[in-house]
């Protein structure tokens, strides 16, 4: 199948060969999808459910008419395998392929577009013929940052997932460097896996899993036990982990709109405690989840009584201040500043809020703004020695920074001057461009 011309007879021959000798790959054994391998793969591995697969393909109707080809578009076609994104024949067919393999598939309408067809190209009740090349596949990158790669061994049911705060029952096995370090059945609340020595990556991944799903998760250090490692399991700092997880069942946590104010305030007290506990243990990501709940419940709550409103504001203030602290520890300074801004929105002279915003800004090299914040701290509380010393840090840094700038610019200006001089000589015959008119 090198050119489109001349393939028609060949295509028909292939279709006939498939009908005759093709392997029936349907689970139902109803000859709905027949397959012949044209070129075996160079690797023994097949893609798993949920994997991102890259293919090139060409599709023809029974009369030999080509209806689609990824090669015409000049880019491989990418989809998630086994999730019903593509026609049934493909989910079945591509799952049987090995990397590098080229195969022919003959698909009955029940495994393609059925009686409805697919306007404008596929008529009703069409049997489709495909040539497919499996170029590559990789596990699903759950957060598009390479931190958690999932490969599904058994697909779950439905489309709903546990949310943050949902109660889940799972079975898990944890591996590090080929050694199994953990194996248990456990029931816990998503976001609080740490209580059972389960790293944050599992909590995050669970929010993308379905009931009954069984998968393998590859966790980067950030989603694993991080810099601290896990002495209990003999896990070093920054280790990569592999978990096998089965989500046996779950019960969703109430969404914010399902809770009334009273319930929100009661829960806020509980999660605040929990957040503080995580914070003290240095589990900042977990603490962020807990404090974040307070914000999501109370930030947009309207129609509170005076008493409720007071309680709500005090929870929110504490949540924002603590979130700011967590983000400082996590080195996410922009977020830290945002939280301080919100805290200061509730209480404009809040000493901690001002101080933490100053710290964050200092670390973002915004020395002038940082200095302002620390000065405001001193206005609120002249006894704050830390703020006083931070101001002098700011001043020192500003000075250093200015000097460095000066050196850089000095060089730059000399260079510009030299270049301009050269240009001037070259252009001396031409006229000088006119500036400043507008």
């Amino acid at each position: 199948m090198t050119t489109d011309e001349g393939t028609k007879p060949e295509g028909e021959v292939q279709a006939a060969a498939l009908a005759e000798r093709g392997e029936d790959i349907t689970p139902a054994r109803d000859r709905g999808v027949l397959k012949i391998i044209k070129r075996p793969g160079n690797d023994d591995e097949s893609p798993m459910i949920g994997d991102k697969v890259y293919v090139h393909y060409k599709g023809k109707l029974a009369n030999g008419k080509k209806f689609d080809s990824s090669r015409d578009r000049n880019e491989p076609f990418v989809f998630s395998l086994g999730k019903g994104q593509v026609i049934k024949a493909w989910d079945i067919g591509v799952a049987t392929m090995k990397k590098g393999e080229v195969c022919y598939l003959l698909c009955k309408p029940e495994y393609a577009y059925g009686a409805a067809g697919s306007a404008p190209k596929i008529p009703s009740n069409a049997t489709l013929f495909f040539e497919v090349e499996l170029l590559d596949f990789k596990g699903e990158d759950l957060f598009e940052d390479g931190g958690i790669i999932r490969r599904i061994k058994r697909k779950g049911e439905g489309y709903s997932n546990p949310n943050e705060g949902a109660t889940v029952e799972i079975h898990l096995e944890g591996f590090c460097g080929g050694t199994r370090f953990d194996c248990k059945d456990v029931k816990f609340v998503v976001g609080e896996g740490e209580d059972h020595d389960i790293p944050i990556g599992i909590d995050k991944a669970l929010e993308k899993m379905q009931r009954g799903e069984h998968c393998v998760l590859y966790l980067g250090p950030r989603y694993g036990f991080g810099e601290a490692g896990k002495p209990k399991y003999g896990i070093q700092a920054n280790a990569e982990l592999v978990y096998e997880v089965t989500l046996k069942s779950f019960e969703k946590a109430k969404e914010s709109w399902e809770m009334d104010t009273k319930e929100k305030l009661e829960q806020a007290a509980i999660v605040k405690e929990k957040g503080t506990m995580y914070f003290k243990e240095g589990k900042y990501l977990q603490a962020v989840i807990q404090y974040g709940k307070i914000v999501s419940w109370l930030e947009m709550e309207y129609g509170l009584s005076e008493k409720e409103s007071k309680a709500s504001d005090s929870f929110l203030l504490a949540a924002f201040l603590n979130l700011a602290m967590c983000y400082l520890k996590l080195r996410e300074y922009t977020k830290a500043v945002e939280c301080c801004d919100k805290a200061l929105g509730l209480d404009q002279d809040n000493e901690k809020g001002l101080y933490r915003r100053g710290e964050a800004r200092l670390l973002m090299n915004e020395f002038e703004l940082a200095k302002c914040d620390f000065q405001k701290v001193l206005e609120v509380n002249p006894q704050n020695k830390a703020a006083r010393s931070q101001i002098s840090v700011c001043q020192k840094k500003t000075k250093e920074h200015n000097e460095r700038d000066r050196r850089i610019y000095a060089n730059m200006f000399t260079k510009f001057a030299e270049r301009d001089a050269k240009a001037l000589i070259q252009n001396s015959s031409k006229q000088k461009p006119m500036h400043g008119v507008l």
């Binding site: 393909y57 599709g59 209806f67 689609d68 990824s70 015409d72 578009r73 076609f77 989809f79 019903g84 994104q85 593509v86 026609i87 049934k88 493909w90 577009y113 059925g114 009686a115 409805a116 067809g117 697919s118 306007a119 404008p120 190209k121 596929i122 495909f130 598009e144 049911e157 439905g158 489309y159 709903s160 922009t334 006229q431 000088k432 006119m434 008119v437 507008l438």
Partner: protein
């Protein structure tokens, strides 16, 4: 005559004077004052109708440097003149011709950067019916200047396109065939001219992409992408995009094809169609901006989807391997966006897109799990809103058809869940009546087909019947307003009682009979008696009043959607009251029949037991 003559010379002379003074100056010695004098004199020449003389001055080789620096000042009066001539008679053709030549000369001679700003300023300042003529006039010059620009080209192209589109956006988009043919403001023509304007820049991007994979003018590409997104939202989202009889090349269809072609050429079409499934790169650090952008692009993407799937624009490069249910799932977001609107153009696009996606599916093939996606629950509710609130009849009808089609596509559990949801959310007796009728159809299928269907028999059905066979506010329910629902419920109950014997009890209706009597039949009796008494008393009242006052003064008025309805005479009121009584009688007779059937069946069963 001589006075006029002297005025002529005045304007031209003044221009000559300043020109002569500047001719001997170096470029760098031009002063702000000179610019002013030049502009005033030039403008006067144009206003007094001496375009020919001005053209001569501009074409003079000796004045090249002056024009290069100062020429752009003439753009504003020039544009004003050209547009003014256009509206007047043919005699001015000559002068208009001269002005156009001047514009052409300025484009050739002037400093591109200043000319660019001068042209853009003209577009910025125009408004109303002048927008299209101004844009049409300046597109060609603007394109030439942009192609000459050395620096910040991508930015300038983007700025021009954004400015033009922003100026066009307030204009109403022609929708009917007549409006399109008339094209009163010139919008149809103008849009297509804007695409032609953009083409050289598209070609540039294409050429660069061919050269290397890591093309360096991402910037220009981004600007063109923004233009396409903007065009999809306005005018395309509000435009008529169906083929119209009698118009060979429907201008907006043409425009749409061109926009899709651009997207395809700069290889952004496919990424856009599947945008919401990939965490697309975000330009904004600030969450708020990102939200605004997402909201803005939601409209554009919905329009794009409509163009691809319903109108088949660009479908050639669309992969033909996606499953119909996945396509529906991807489009559900767009359908929801469109159905949330109230404009005919958008609602009909939403309904067409929905129909297109549903027709790709086979009946009973959509898994109930899809209802776990929020938009699968939201869209049918939006349909209900359209079919109960939309003032346009064909859209109401189509919404109902789409609801029917949507229901048809689901598996039994999906239908069941959907019925429950719609009964709880529709708040409209007519819709509820319709749903109850659909429930009856499903029960009928379950009872007649060989294979057992658990969702419309036994305990699942009973819990659904709980939502059907009751009066929302007990005996106090407004029976008239709820008559559709009540009649459908009674019909359903009658069907169940006839079809299902107490001994079989396949539907479970006999188990729950006591509950039905308590929640539905008894309060219905009470309600009927109360309502009838009330209306009869009302009729009696009216009649007596009529006799007493011999009508006249007591005229009721009624307002429907802020429009005052014609006043009702007592006669008309009586008619309404009588038709209400008739409805109650109807309900009562069906109720009696149902109770009779129940009694007979219960008795028969008891006899059998003895």
């Amino acid at each position: 005559m001589s006075e006029e003559r002297s005025q002529t010379t005045m304007a031209v002379d003044e221009l000559q004077a300043i020109i002569q003074r500047c001719q001997i100056l170096e470029e760098s010695d031009f002063r702000g004052e000179d610019f002013n004098l030049f502009q005033v004199a030039g403008q006067k020449c144009l206003e007094d109708g001496y375009a020919a003389q001005l053209l001569e001055v501009i074409q003079n080789e000796k004045n090249k440097v002056i024009i290069k620096n100062m020429g752009w000042n003439l753009i504003s009066p020039l544009v004003r003149c050209i547009l003014a001539y256009k509206q007047e008679d043919d005699k001015r053709d000559d002068k208009r011709e001269h002005c156009l030549k001047i514009l052409d000369q300025l484009v050739q001679l002037c400093n591109p950067k200043e000319l660019f700003l001068g042209l853009l300023e003209q577009i910025e300042q125009t408004s109303g019916e002048k927008v299209c003529p101004t844009v049409m006039l300046l597109l060609q010059p603007l394109q030439t200047v942009l192609l000459k620009l050395q620096n910040k080209k991508a930015y300038s192209v983007g700025l021009s396109l954004a400015m033009i589109m922003n100026q066009l956006t307030p204009l109403p988009v022609p929708y009917t065939k007549q409006q399109i043919q008339e094209d009163k403001l010139g919008l149809c023509q103008c849009c297509n001219a804007v695409v032609d304007f953009a083409k050289p820049f598209v070609n540039e991007v294409v050429k660069n992409m061919e050269k290397s994979s890591e093309y360096n003018d991402m910037e220009l590409k981004e600007e063109l992408l923004k233009f396409c997104m903007k065009s999809l939202k306005y005018p395309l989202l509000t435009a008529q995009l169906e083929q119209l009889e009698g118009i060979e090349e429907q201008p907006f269809r043409h425009f749409a094809t061109e926009i899709i072609d651009i997207l395809q050429d700069i290889r952004e079409l496919m990424p856009l169609v599947f945008l919401h499934h990939k965490g697309k790169r975000s330009y904004w650090e600030n969450q708020e901006f990102e939200d605004i952008e997402r909201k803005n692009s939601a409209d554009s993407l919905a329009c794009l989807s409509y163009l691809m799937f319903v109108q088949h624009f660009g479908i050639n490069c669309f992969p033909m391997v996606f499953s119909p249910s996945y396509l529906l799932q991807c489009n559900m977001t767009h359908i929801e966006v469109l159905l949330k609107r109230t404009e005919e153009s958008m609602l009909s696009k939403g309904l067409d897109l929905f129909e297109n996606c549903l027709l790709r599916m086979e009946d009973n093939s959509l898994l109930h799990q899809y209802l776990e996606f929020r938009d699968f629950i939201n869209v049918p509710q939006d349909l209900v809103k359209v079919m109960t609130l939309c003032p346009i009849e064909h859209l109401r009808k189509k919404s109902l058809n789409m609801l029917q089609l949507f229901i048809d596509k689901f598996d039994a559990e999906g239908k069941y869940t959907l019925f429950r949801c719609l009964l709880k959310t529709s708040n409209h007796a007519g819709v509820e009546g319709y749903i109850i009728q659909k429930i009856k159809d499903q029960i009928h299928l379950s009872l007649t087909k060989a294979h057992d269907n658990v969702w419309f028999t036994r305990h699942h059905l009973i819990s659904l019947l709980d939502l059907v066979l009751f009066l929302p506010e007990g005996a106090e329910t407004d029976l008239l307003q709820n008559s559709d629902r009540i009649m459908a419920s009674l019909n359903l109950l009658r069907y169940l009682v006839i079809k299902d014997c107490e001994s079989d009890n396949q539907t479970g209706v006999w188990t729950t009979l006591a509950k039905i009597e308590k929640n539905f039949l008894k309060p219905l009796h009470v309600g009927l008696n109360m309502s009838k008494a009330h209306y009869e008393a009302e009729i009696k009242n009216k009649r007596e009043n009529r006799r007493e006052a011999n009508n006249s003064n007591t005229v009721y008025s009624l307002t429907v959607s802020e429009e005052k309805m014609p006043a009702m005479t007592t006669e008309m009121q009586l008619q309404v009251l009588h038709s209400a009584l008739f409805t109650f009688d109807l309900i009562e007779s069906v109720l009696a029949r149902v109770e009779e059937l129940i009694e007979v069946k219960v008795k028969a069963a008891m006899d059998e037991n003895i």
